[in-house]
């Protein structure tokens, strides 16, 4: 470490260290998550494993990427130290993803969605009401609910 510093200073040159990549925004389900740090990569989105739960409720465990009572085995290529390859994971589970200008958008997770087709349990959502209070479908358990969409257009 000391020797490296000496080399930098003795060269008399200003060596500009690469600036850490700016934060990115991740759109995942009904969540918008801003990440202040991601690992540089020309193609993939590498996030800190510690950020995974707030992105998609998954946690990395020895048996794989886990959420509730489901665990998906993942290859070691998807992990690098504290980092996790979120787009690589998306490809693994056939999940669509797009990105542009620092914003990454992920589609539904077929492996999670499949539970809806099997169980008929309505996927939950988190949507604000007119006063900005977040409403979940699950808030209405115990009652019959008609959910209707409409639009001003």
């Amino acid at each position: 470490m000391h020797r490296r510093r000496f080399l930098f200073s003795s060269a008399g040159a200003t060596i500009a260290l690469a600036a850490p990549p700016a934060g990115v925004t991740v759109l995942y389900g009904d969540r918008t998550v801003h990440l202040d740090r991601v690992r540089p990569d020309p193609k993939d989105l590498w996030v800190r494993a510690a950020d995974l739960p707030r992105i998609n409720e998954f946690t990395l465990k020895p048996q794989g990427a886990c959420r509730a009572d489901m665990c998906i085995p993942i290859s070691k290529e998807l992990k690098s130290g504290a980092w996790f390859n979120l787009t690589g994971f998306a490809q693994r589970i056939h999940q669509a993803s797009l990105h542009d200008s620092g914003v990454w958008s992920f589609g539904e997770m077929p492996v999670v969605r499949g539970d809806f087709y099997r169980s008929r349990i309505a996927p939950d959502f988190a949507v604000p009401d007119r006063k900005g209070r977040v409403v979940h479908l699950s808030d209405f358990r115990g009652r019959k609910v008609l959910v209707v969409t409409w639009a001003s257009w």
Partner: protein, 192 residues
Amino acid sequence: MAAAQDTGGEAAAGQWYDRANATYTTLVDAQHTVSSAYQFINVPMGIWVNEKGRVVRPAEPAWNSDQVMKITGDKSIVTEGKVYVDALRDWVRNGDRSQYALSDEEFARRVKPRSAAEMEADASFKLAVWFHENGKDELASKYWEHAQELNPDDWNYHRQEWSFGKDAGKKWMEKFQKLDKPYYPPLEIRKQ
């Protein structure tokens, strides 16, 4: 509960809720989260969910009146609200014993997993909304159009974007006239 599929937010949807004197839960769903969750492709559409969170009736038109809207010489939009509301009332009274509650077989017939194109369209639409909300209109247009190309049957993708530009009505008519299928998914509502 009603969910306004309005990227324009309260500014777009609020006055209509006011005029309706809504006493039910009123959501402002700028990201079209509800349509995405239940695979709605037009408005109005609805689902019925029972006390245990189970979908009794999946995505279908949720009309509340009978109308025949003649659009062109040979094309009309027909809504069947009376049969829908009568069925809804039956379910409210009778719950899962209602003959309008769908069997598992009928549910499976009506609800299909999204194709790869549809899943990408869904992600693209969300991206477009984000760019619009953050003032990047060119990028919003790019990803709205990408969603429309991937899933041309989703009228929400088209109409939401058109609402921010010019000639929304003209664009709607052009697309409607080219339709070779009904404007709405069928409302198959009958006693089981």
